[in-house]
């Protein structure tokens, strides 16, 4: 017979049993009993954020840098509603996250009590699943089920809403082993017949491409290894989505760079021109496909995905394989090897010479300047000065994010955290906090824009309080750069509300928080400034003042196909037609 404990003690005990070492949270009236239980133990570290949205993004950063679920603790009402953005972000990017929210006592629910919100109602569409626990007796099993659901299948955020009286009341603790399980058991092994069909097509491919995504990273490090083995064994070119960067090393011989709206010419044209596409843990997002009816029109498509609803959602595929990427790749390799590792190597060689022609356009080249720092140059220098370090990169959302994906190289999975699906400005700083908590000795850099940084800049306080030496690398163009770029291309250069007036002095801002601030605006001083940032043992804001009107290229204009990229400002006139303007 297990010992009786209060609901609050059950929460802490269950978290410990699930292997949680860190919780990101913010206290309030409806979670005080849980905070009291946290106060009376030392196994779980609580990181006090400055805003609940920060807690969710920090938990996302922690999850993506470790492969473990991130845990968030917030109070009722505004505490929970502030967590909604981060939960939606985690849902879109398949990040395992457990959000524990306080709720008003059960007898007050529905009375419009102080700090009451219908949290399960509000978070239903932005969680994989959620629960309102009305009985302390069910609390432990609900938490165990929540971890199971958040981390298995396609990972995602879950929320447990816990009324205050449930936290105070007592019940026996149920261990993970004793807790009833749910029927939720997603398929992990791929169908062998389908895998064999895929291998047969792969063997016949003359112009193959592998298009990998975040599913490879979510599956674990073994999946990345298998992917590398497949690429090396077949000599197939490989590209990746934003979410999948690092699964195959950027320094690898077969790497074409990222694909999609701001992908490389070689990646996008290879996608368009291939005769065989192997989509590994990606979901044909609209940033990837461009115009869907003109997407890779001539290819045999194989789609490996753990989520059955991703199959044929956007692009019709010839062979769908549902399961965990690691398991599928293992079987795929096994079948392919047992059949003699066949490839059309001569044809693939010819395919490569075509690709090399595309690579020769050097689409990431840009006009550098001696007088003003180009954002691409700043990232190239950052890459050069940090590439051999134990480095993690987070980003905010916008031009700087795409430049980071283009100009920084990722050779390992779990090294790049960015808000892909939801595109959440304000993600990067709190995410860098979460990554640094998980890896205290590593270098953690947030590539930011001036506007994005301001969205959650309060988390500098968290970084300072917990001695987290995160580096904030702000590419400051005093603009909402991507908005400005679209206004230039789509809205007749009418720059409505897209410049940042009254920006703070970022150096003073850093100092006000208790960190270090560095300003650099001369290309000649850039390297020194980066080195100074890297050398400082504590949070740093590097305010890197860059060219204000630089555009992010290559770009597939909205409503266009992969072979209709624009590469430079000269090609932007009338690049987007009326139909394209309606798209985002």
């Amino acid at each position: 017979m297990s010992r009786e404990m209060t609901g609050a003690e059950i929460v802490v005990t269950a978290l410990k049993e699930q292997g949680v070492d860190t919780v990101f949270g913010y206290p309030g009236g409806a979670v005080l009993p849980i905070y009291d239980a946290i106060f009376q133990q030392n196994d779980i570290k609580h990181i006090l954020v400055r805003h609940e949205q920060g807690a969710t993004h920090a938990a996302e950063g922690y999850a993506r840098a470790t492969g473990k679920p991130g845990v968030v603790l917030v109070t009722s009402g505004p505490g929970a509603t502030n967590a909604v953005t981060g939960m939606t972000d985690a849902l879109m990017d398949s990040i395992p996250m457990i959000v524990l929210s306080g709720q008003v006592p059960t007898f007050m629910i529905g009375n419009d009590a102080f700090q009451e919100a219908d949290t399960v109602g509000i978070t239903r569409p932005c969680s994989k699943h959620n629960w309102l626990v009305k009985d302390t007796d069910e609390l432990a099993e609900t938490i165990h089920q929540a971890f199971h659901i958040a981390t298995s299948g396609r990972p995602g955020p879950v929320l447990i809403d816990i009324p205050k009286d449930v936290q105070f009341a007592s019940a026996p603790y149920k261990t993970k082993a004793k807790a009833p399980t749910t029927h939720y058991k997603p398929q992990v092994k791929g169908d062998l017949a389908e895998i064999t069909r895929a291998v047969e097509a792969f063997e016949q491919a003359e112009r193959p491409i592998i298009y990998s995504g975040g599913g490879v990273i979510n599956s674990g490090v073994a999946a990345s290894q298998l992917l590398r083995e497949l690429v090396a064994g077949s000599n197939a070119p490989i590209t990746s989505t934003l979410m999948g960067l690092g699964a195959y090393p950027a320094s690898g011989d077969n790497w074409l760079g990222m694909l999609g709206m701001h992908g490389t010419v070689e990646a996008n044209l290879a996608m368009h021109g291939c005769d065989f596409m192997l989509c590994v843990g990606a979901r044909f997002d609209d940033r990837i496909t461009g115009r869907t009816d003109a997407f890779s029109p001539d290819s045999f498509k194989v789609h490996m995905d753990i989520d059955p609803s991703s199959i044929n959602k956007i692009i019709h595929v010839d062979v769908p394989i549902i399961g965990d990427i690691g398991h599928i790749l293992e079987d795929f390799l096994k079948v392919w090897k047992s059949r003699g590792r066949k490839t059309k190597s001569a044809a693939i060689k010819k395919w490569w010479s075509q690709i090399e022609e595309w690579q020769a356009t050097k689409c990431l080249d840009f006009k550098n300047s001696d007088t003003i720092i180009k954002p691409q140059h700043a990232l190239q220098r950052l890459e050069a000065l940090t590439k051999n370090m134990d480095r993690y990169i987070t980003t905010e959302v916008g031009q700087h994010q795409m430049w980071a994906a283009q100009y920084l190289n990722f050779d390992d999975p779990h090294r790049f955290m960015t808000s892909g699906g939801l595109g959440t400005m304000g993600y990067g700083l709190p995410a860098s906090v979460g990554v640094q908590v998980a890896h205290p000795e590593s270098l953690v850099i947030n590539i930011a824009g001036d506007a994005s940084f301001l969205m959650n800049m309060q988390e500098m306080g968290t970084a300072v309080q917990f001695n987290l030496p995160v580096k904030q690398f702000i590419l400051n163009n005093e603009r909402l750069g991507m908005v400005r770029q679209w206004q230039q291309l789509l809205h007749g250069e009418r720059y409505s509300q897209s410049w940042s007036e009254a920006l703070p002095d970022f150096v003073k801002l850093a100092e006000a928080f208790g960190g270090k601030g560095i300003l650099v605006d001369d290309p000649a001083d850039l390297d020194e400034a980066i080195k100074e940032m890297l050398a400082y043992d504590g949070p740093v804001i590097l305010d890197c003042v860059v060219e204000k009107h630089e555009n992010c290229f290559p770009m597939i204009p909205s409503g266009k196909a992969h072979n209709e990229m624009i590469l430079c400002d000269e090609e932007t006139a009338d690049a987007i037609d009326a139909a394209g303007k309606t798209r985002v």
Binding site: P125, L269, A294, P297, D298, P308, N312, W351
Partner: protein, 185 residues
């Protein structure tokens, strides 16, 4: 900078591809077995409204009180691709045990029940009663000026009966939505 797009790109034009929007709209009846827990119906309905799918009819009640299972019968319309998406998305909802597409999984029976209040006197009242007989509707309430008819059948049969009752003094109608089941053992 110029690109040489011809090499390696497609033989046939992408613009010849079939527009998915041209596809036929189909009506499907789905039987969804769920845990009868708080909010489960909201999850299902929220999926349809959030993703812009149609609900023609929806029926739900607990069918296994011991196992706390409910059966939701949904009649929905969409292109074949949309119907496939609906089924896949329903399958992702954690309390959903099973999704059966009765329209494609073999023959099935569909029934709906409706109550119709028809108010009138004289010939109209007689005619309403006569038609009710033809449609095998039962009278479940009667006053000197009104009947309440109970009718069970396919949605089309109920539509037909409703159309006939309109000129005869139909004042109120309540329909249950479709309950459906596969034929055979």
């Amino acid at each position: 900078m110029t690109l040489h797009l011809k090499k390696g790109s497609s033989r046939k034009s992408a613009y010849d591809l079939k527009n998915p929007l041209d596809e036929q709209i189909e009506t499907h009846t789905l039987a969804v077995l769920v845990d009868n827990e708080a909010g489960v119906l909201a999850r299902v309905i929220g999926l349809f409204s959030g993703r812009g799918y149609n609900i023609e009819s929806l029926t739900v009640a607990e069918t296994d009180p011991e196992g706390h299972r409910s059966r939701i019968t949904i009649v929905t319309t969409g292109t074949p691709a949309v119907i496939e998406q609906i089924k896949a998305q329903l399958g992702l909802i954690i309390p959903v045990y099973r999704v059966n597409d009765l329209t494609v999984e073999g023959p099935s029976v569909e029934r709906e029940m409706a109550l119709l209040k028809v108010a009138g006197q004289g010939d109209k009242r007689v005619e309403a009663m006569r038609l009710a007989d033809i449609f095998r509707a039962n009278v479940v309430d009667s006053t000197l000026e009104s009947f309440v008819f109970e009718i069970t059948g396919t949605p089309e049969k109920i539509d037909a009966f409703t159309d006939l009752m309109h000129p005869l003094g139909l004042t109120d109608i309540a329909r249950t939505g479709v309950a459906a089941m596969a034929r055979g053992a």
